[in-house]
Amino acid sequence: LVTTGVGAKTYRRIRFILIQNRAGKTRLAKWYMQFDDDEKQKLIEEVHAVVTVRDAKHTNFVEFRNFKIIYRRYAGLYFCICVDVTDNNLAYLEGIHNFVEVLNEYFHNVCELDLVFNFYKVYTVVDEMFLAGEIRETSQTKVLKQLLMLQSLE
């Protein structure tokens, strides 16, 4: 468990959020920690390798390096969140589902192509719901309202 005090070593937060398809193409990569470009590429490949071999009889949590990945597969896309080992798995699983439901509402039955052609909008959704590596807004109605407002400014 986390040590209190200045210099607490474990960062309890999201390190990155990744949406990948089965072939390994990244549809969204949001990083909340500093990585080099080649490190990022390596991480993406590793996550892909680890997550795609797992099937329904595996749990949704993988221990990965010294973090943990919580992922869920929706159709052909894997939604992965990388968190600290001490975080609450089940809560983040709910977080993923919340996020996907918002995407679904916003894009009206979202599919992978929506995410491809409107990638900057997907980033906006992410930024409305997560910030600085924490879950920010959990109410779907509120998020959708804000997104529509932002859209009207375009």
Binding site: L1, V2, T4, A8, V62, N88, E94, N98, R136
Partner: protein
């Protein structure tokens, strides 16, 4: 395209006329024409408007190969680059968006960084949006370029539109570096106090990021936190709790300060549970589970190691634990967090039992995620709440059969933690079954775990041996290397099981010789107890009829088999040799040994040659050398006996030295000492002295081994420390290497006469508390040196003594130096230490001899 453009221009200008050149055109017309020409030329030579983002995406998706895609991307990059060069404001946004898309595909896009900054500085919202997105994707704190953003962000934080402010906060919160955070913390703090909830949420999380980057700024946000918890807006509440959590985690002072918020948090949590259906934050019937989880976590941090807060939380925790619905994942997420909190704070035992029961219920859940989570938490609590976890043992053991690898691993670890004297038989059955069927990656850990558990809780020796045999036969190749010596020690110590053990091992060997640890243990046992095997005495089970030749066949088979490693071959050769004293077919053994004396394997050859020599020249010593191993002292697994054992089986030719003093009487000072001291109740001292002195007890043998003419110029036998008693094999250096764990033992003066003073200082040998290490310091107060100084000591029969080499044999005059020597005393019966010492030296030309008795040992040295 060029000519069509041109021609359409011409057609446009020359309305009606087809051939300009032929007509006489007035000058004005020509000038205008020229102007039009250059205008359209300029327009033409400018790139056409950059393609839209959607088009680009569509085009790229039509690429069928990677090379094609790369080509398209390169072309587009070139277009974008020239477009950037032209400083065109209208299309910058579109270009950067395209660049970002290409970046997402994995192509380099760094030339767009400055463009992002320009977009941020623009006034249009769409520009800003893409600009900030670009900044978050392309920039990071390692490039100095990002500092240019600081001013823009500052302005945007004070913008009139909340959405712009929101953008700025978001960017700062995601990738702000420490310098930026330092500059902008004030703005963030201001926004934290605003009444606009949209901004407050973002500001709170941005503050979290600032604190993470620059912890010293934490105090700055303190005043703003005062009213955070009284917010009604869930979003703000949620982010405030996150902020508070971060502050409490980082600073103990903050923790104390915020402890007083516990009642408020409890109230909020209560409202959440009690309140009815709230559509906005509802997830599957539970109102704002995310907020509940965060509050629980904050309560955990606040209540840790604080009794009052923990007490204030007890009720609400119990309430959450009992009222939350568990049918969906959401409810379980909350329950899990509750359990973690209960375990961590100083909760009363009833609550803890409740928590463990929840975890037990989780184990029965169909959802494997929840089972996994439960197993992980139970592993953490099994140390503290052992009994409560025991109740769920059967469920845990069932999880060993789960399909998911991580669940199996957790279940295995937890099962081992739960094994105790009562359930050992049942548990072991399950675990052995698991060992049979599990994946190879588990086998090593499982095997070690089984060994440990069996060692601690074995109900009987036979059960222990059976279990170990089962492990060796099922997972033999995965056991760790040190299990072989451990097992041998175990077998040696269970004297009454020797016949049974060797029989079973022999049978196992007949079945399968591929698992090396099993083969090694078996061959060692057959070597030791082969006579029992052949004689057919076995009480435990049906004795098998086996002849000497059959046994030798098996052992020889090991020698030639391709499956045997060199180490195994060594074992079997030595076993064959040992059988020469136990079996009657000596000739066959002699033949085998002589065959291998020309083996290619150096180790094997060396052994064979030595054994050959044993047959030829030293046949009279053979029985003594190859006698049964004694019972080894059972110590902690890393004690000196361990080393003795390894020496014991890899070099069984090392004679059992406890017998040595009986075999040959040393014909030197040690004898004299014996005579002097009456011999009866004194064990002769085996002493290592300076090389000038004749060798002691095992000396004859040492000489013998040194004389052996080893063919091929092999190195002298590694079994050099022959003359030292087994338990002191690791103390080859003359300095004690152990920690002074009993620094409290005071030094004492053992002898002081005629100017010679001998002091004893004590240390305790760490691995074996029965061994006391005494260092003697001999000093000389007279004006002449004492040369040829020899210190000898004798102890009563219940002790064993070893003298290591002294530092020198000259005690310098006038306390200019001292002679030190280390004595090691084994005192297994913890009797009072007594010692008789004999000193001989030459002083001023005449020899001096003295005897003394030392009785004044401090009690701590032998207790």
């Amino acid at each position: 395209m060029c000519s069509c453009y041109y021609s359409s221009v011409w057609l446009h200008v020359n309305t009606g006329e087809c051939n300009l050149a032929s007509k006489h055109v007035p000058l004005q017309y020509l000038i205008t024409l020229h102007w039009f020409e250059t205008l359209f030329l300029c327009v033409f030579q400018r790139m056409p408007a950059p393609i839209r983002l959607r088009e680009l995406i569509r085009t790229i998706r039509t690429a069928r190969t990677q090379a094609e895609e790369r080509e398209m991307i390169q072309k587009e990059c070139a277009a974008i680059r020239s477009s950037f060069r032209e400083e065109d404001n209208t299309y910058r946004c579109r270009n950067v968006a395209k660049l970002l898309y290409m970046h997402m595909l994995g192509y380099p896009a760094h030339f767009g960084q400055l463009e992002c900054l320009k977009l941020i500085a623009s006034q249009k919202f769409t520009d800003k949006r893409i600009g900030y997105l670009g900044a978050m994707l392309l920039l990071d704190e390692r490039q100095d370029v990002h500092l240019l953003m600081t001013n823009c962000i500052k302005n945007d934080l004070n913008h009139s539109t909340q959405y712009v402010q929101g953008l700025a906060l978001c960017t700062l919160g995601c990738m702000g570096s420490s310098e930026m955070c330092r500059d902008l913390a004030g703005e963030v703090e201001k926004l934290l106090k605003t009444s606009n909830s949209y901004l407050r949420k973002k500001a709170a999380l941005c503050a979290v990021h600032v604190i993470r980057k620059v912890p010293e700024l934490m105090e700055m946000f303190l005043p703003a936190t005062k009213n955070l918890l009284s917010e009604k807006n869930h979003g703000v509440l949620h982010t405030s709790v996150v902020l508070l959590t971060e502050m409490c985690e980082r600073s103990p002072d903050m923790l104390l300060h915020f402890r007083k918020l516990v009642p408020q948090l409890v109230r909020i949590l209560k409202n959440l549970i009690m309140s009815g259906y709230s559509p906005e934050h509802d997830v599957s019937g539970i109102s704002d589970p995310f907020l509940q989880v965060r509050i629980l976590r904050l309560l955990r941090i606040l209540g840790r190691s604080d009794d009052d807060s923990s007490e204030a939380m007890n009720d609400i925790l119990a309430q959450v634990a009992t009222n939350t619905e568990t049918s969906k994942n959401v409810g379980n997420a909350i329950l899990y967090e509750t359990v973690l909190t209960i375990m961590d704070i100083k909760s009363e035992s009833g609550l803890r039992v409740l928590a463990i029961n929840i975890l037990g219920r989780f184990l029965l859940n169909n959802d494997k995620n929840i089972r996994y989570v439960a197993l992980t938490s139970l592993l953490k609590t099994v140390q503290t709440d052992h009994n409560a976890v025991q109740r769920h043992r059967s469920t845990i053991v069932d999880c060993l059969k789960d399909l998911d690898v991580s669940i199996k691993r957790r279940a295995m670890e937890l099962s081992f933690a739960l094994v105790n004297g009562n359930n050992i038989r049942g548990m072991m059955k399950e675990l052995l079954y698991f060992l049979d069927s599990c994946d190879p990656e588990f086998k090593a850990d499982c095997a070690s775990g089984v060994f440990l558990a069996a060692e601690k809780y074995a109900p009987s020796k036979r059960w222990h041996i059976d279990t170990i045999m089962r492990v060796l036969t099922t997972a033999g190749s995965y056991v760790r290397d040190d299990s072989v010596p451990n097992l041998i020690q175990l077998i040696t110590n269970s004297v009454e099981m020797h016949a049974y053990t060797v029989q079973r091992l022999y049978k196992a060997l007949l079945d399968d010789i591929s698992q090396q640890p099993l083969v090694q243990v078996s061959s060692w046992c057959i070597g030791e107890y082969g006579d029992l095997l052949v004689s057919g005495q076995c009480e435990e089970e049906e004795p098998i009829q086996v002849t000497e030749d059959e046994v030798l066949d098996v052992l020889e088979g090991l020698l030639v088999s391709n499956l045997s490693t060199p180490v195994t071959r060594g074992y079997s050769l030595t076993a064959i040799m040992k059988l020469s004293t136990r079996f009657s077919s000596v000739n066959r053994i002699k033949k085998v040994v002589s065959i291998y004396s020309s083996s290619i394997d150096v180790e094997l050859q060396q052994r064979a040659v030595e054994y050959n020599a044993l047959f030829k020249k030293y046949d009279h010593m053979r029985p003594a050398l190859l006698e049964r191993m004694p019972i080894m002292e059972k110590t902690a697994s890393n004690g000196p006996t361990e080393i003795m054992q390894t020496n014991g089986e890899t070099e069984p030719s090392v004679p059992d030295t406890k017998h040595l003093p009986l075999v040959t009487q040393p014909a030197n000072q040690a004898n004299d000492l014996l005579d002097l001291l009456g011999g009866n109740d004194v064990v002769p001292v085996i002493q290592t002295t300076l090389p000038t002195k004749p060798a002691s007890a095992g000396g004859e043998l040492l000489d013998l081994l040194g004389d052996l003419s080893l063919s091929g110029g092999l190195a002298p036998a590694p079994s050099v420390p022959v003359s030292q008693p087994p338990f002191l094999l690791d103390g080859l250096s003359s300095q004690p290497l152990f920690n002074d764990t009993s620094a409290a033992i005071p030094p004492m003066t053992a002898y002081s006469k005629n100017g010679l003073k001998i002091e004893f200082t004590f240390e305790r040998a760490n691995p074996n508390p029965n061994i006391a290490v005494i260092t003697i310091h001999a000093t000389n107060t007279t004006e002449a040196d004492m040369t040829e100084f020899v210190f000898q000591a004798a102890v009563p029969k219940t002790f064993q003594l070893q003298l290591l080499s002294p530092s020198s044999n000259i005690v310098p005059a006038l306390n200019q130096g001292s002679v030190t020597q280390v004595i090691r005393v084994l005192n297994p019966q913890k009797q009072q230490l007594r010692m008789r010492v004999k000193l001989t030296y030459t002083h001023k030309g005449s020899p001096v001899q003295d005897l003394a008795e030392v009785n004044n040992f401090p009690p701590q040295s032998w207790q």
